[in-house]
C-alpha cells in the first residue's frame, strides 16, 4: 500500500501536475507568482487548505452525502465546505493569529474561488469514492497535488523574477510572457510522461 501511495503521490505531483498538466491552479499561479518568496508562502497556504479541505469534504461525503443518498449535491456541499473553511481560517488569522496574516492569511481569498481546491476534491470523490479503505489515497492525492502546485508556482516565480530584468515587448509584459514561460515549463513537464 505504501508503494501505491508513493506512486500516486508522484503521479499527482509531477506527471499530472496541477498547474502545468491539469490547468487547475492557473489563476492564483499567474497572479501571485511575482517573486519566489511570496510564491512559496502561497504554495504552503494551498497545501494547508488542500489537506483540510479534502479531510472535511471526505467526512461530509462519506458520512453525510452517501448516507443520505444525496450524492448529486456533491458540488454544492463541497464548495460550501471549502468556502466556509477558508473564510474561517481567514478570520482566525485576522483576529487571533495576527502574525500569520501576512505570510498566510493574505492568500486565502485567492485560494477560495479557484479551480485547484474544488478540482482536487471532486477528483478525489470521483476516483476514490467513499470507501473507508481509500481514505489514505484521498489524503495522499491532495497532499501531492499541493506539493505539485508549490513546485509549479515557485518555478514560475523563479522564471518571472529573471524575466523582469529583460527587455520584453510591450504587449507581452505581465501575464502574456508569464504564459509563454508556463508553456515552456509545461513542455518540460511532458518529459515526465513520455516513456
Amino acid at each position: 500500500m505504501i508503494r501505491d501511495l508513493a506512486l500516486l503521490a508522484l503521479g499527482t505531483a509531477l506527471i499530472n501536475n496541477l498547474v502545468f498538466v491539469q490547468f487547475l491552479g492557473i489563476s492564483p499561479a499567474l497572479n501571485m507568482s511575482k517573486n519566489v518568496k511570496s510564491s512559496a508562502q502561497m504554495g504552503v497556504a494551498v497545501i494547508f487548505v488542500l489537506f483540510f479541505a479534502s479531510l472535511l469534504t471526505w467526512v461530509v461525503n462519506t458520512y453525510f452525502l452517501a448516507y443520505l443518498r444525496w450524492e448529486f449535491l456533491e458540488n454544492v456541499a463541497f464548495i460550501l465546505v471549502v468556502v466556509a473553511f477558508v473564510q474561517f481560517c481567514e478570520m482566525l488569522t485576522r483576529k487571533k493569529f495576527k502574525s500569520l496574516y501576512p505570510i498566510f492569511g493574505r492568500y486565502l481569498p485567492f485560494i477560495m474561488a479557484n479551480c485547484a481546491i474544488l478540482g482536487i476534491v471532486l477528483i478525489n470523490s470521483r476516483e476514490f469514492g467513499v470507501l473507508r479503505e481509500n481514505f489514505a489515497y484521498n489524503i495522499a492525492n491532495s497532499l501531492a497535488a499541493g506539493i505539485g502546485f508549490f513546485i509549479a508556482i515557485v518555478l514560475l516565480a523563479g522564471v518571472r523574477e529573471r524575466l523582469e530584468l529583460k527587455n520584453i515587448p510591450k504587449a507581452f509584459r505581465g501575464i502574456p510572457i508569464a504564459l509563454i514561460s508556463a508553456a515552456l515549463i509545461a513542455l518540460a513537464f511532458i518529459g515526465f510522461t513520455a516513456g
Binding site: I26, L73, L122, A178, I180
Partner: protein, 200 residues
C-alpha cells in the same frame, strides 16, 4: 440602445478571458476542440445568466453576513442542474469536458459577476450583463479552440481541412500549446488596445 452596447462591451472591451484575465483554467483545458469550447461556453453562459438573475432578485433579502456563502450555493445549484442535463442529453460532451463542468462553480467570471454586479443591479440589467460576459467567454473559447484545433489536429469541428498528408503540430493540443495560444491572444489584445489608445 445601451443593451447592445453592453453586449458588445462584454465581448470586446471587457472580454473575460483576454482583458479581465478571468476563467483561464477552463479556457485552457476546453480549447482543444471547437465542439468542447462551444459546449462549455454555452453551459457557462446558462449558469451565468441564471445565477445573475436569481442573485439579483434576492439581493435585498440576503443578509450581509452570509452573502458569499449564499451566492456560492445558488451558483452551485445551477451548475448541478446544468451538469445533470449535460450528462443526460449530451453524454459524450459531458465525458470530454470532465471535471470542468462542475468547476464552472469556481469560474472566476461567475463569482465576480455575481458578487459585484448582480448584488447592485436590477434583474434585467443583471441578465444583460450576464449574457454579455458569457458571450464574451464563449467567443474567447471559440477563438482559442479554432487555432488550437486547426494547427494541432488539422480539423475544424471534426472535418479535416488540410487533407491527409498534413502532419499537425500536436503540441497545440497539449498543455504547452494552450499556454502559448492564450499568451499570444492576450498579447494581441493588449497591443490592439494600446494602439487604440495612441490614436485617441
Amino acid at each position: 440602445m445601451t443593451y447592445i452596447r453592453t453586449l458588445l462591451n462584454g465581448i470586446f472591451e471587457e472580454n473575460p478571458v483576454f482583458v479581465l484575465v478571468l476563467g483561464l483554467a477552463p479556457a485552457l483545458f476546453v480549447s482543444t476542440s471547437v465542439v468542447n469550447a462551444v459546449g462549455l461556453g454555452v453551459a457557462t453562459l446558462i449558469v451565468l445568466i441564471c445565477s445573475n438573475v436569481v442573485i439579483s432578485l434576492l439581493r435585498k433579502f440576503i443578509p450581509n453576513k452570509i452573502r458569499l456563502l449564499s451566492q456560492v450555493a445558488i451558483i452551485a445549484c445551477f451548475v448541478t442542474i446544468v451538469q445533470i442535463l449535460l450528462n443526460t442529453y449530451f453524454p459524450d460532451l459531458a465525458r470530454d469536458l470532465g471535471i470542468f463542468v462542475p468547476l464552472i462553480v469556481v469560474n472566476g467570471i461567475i463569482v465576480y459577476e455575481a458578487a459585484i454586479f448582480a448584488t447592485e443591479h436590477s434583474p434585467l440589467e443583471s441578465f444583460i450583463k450576464g449574457a454579455a460576459i458569457g458571450l464574451g467567454f464563449l467567443a474567447a473559447l471559440i477563438v482559442m479552440a479554432f487555432f488550437r484545433e486547426l494547427l494541432g489536429n488539422g480539423t475544424i469541428l471534426g472535418f479535416a481541412v488540410f487533407g491527409e498528408r498534413f502532419d499537425p503540430a500536436s503540441i497545440m493540443i497539449m498543455p504547452p500549446g494552450a499556454f502559448l495560444t492564450l499568451g499570444i491572444g492576450l498579447a494581441i489584445f493588449a497591443a490592439v488596445k494600446s494602439r487604440g489608445k495612441e490614436n485617441e
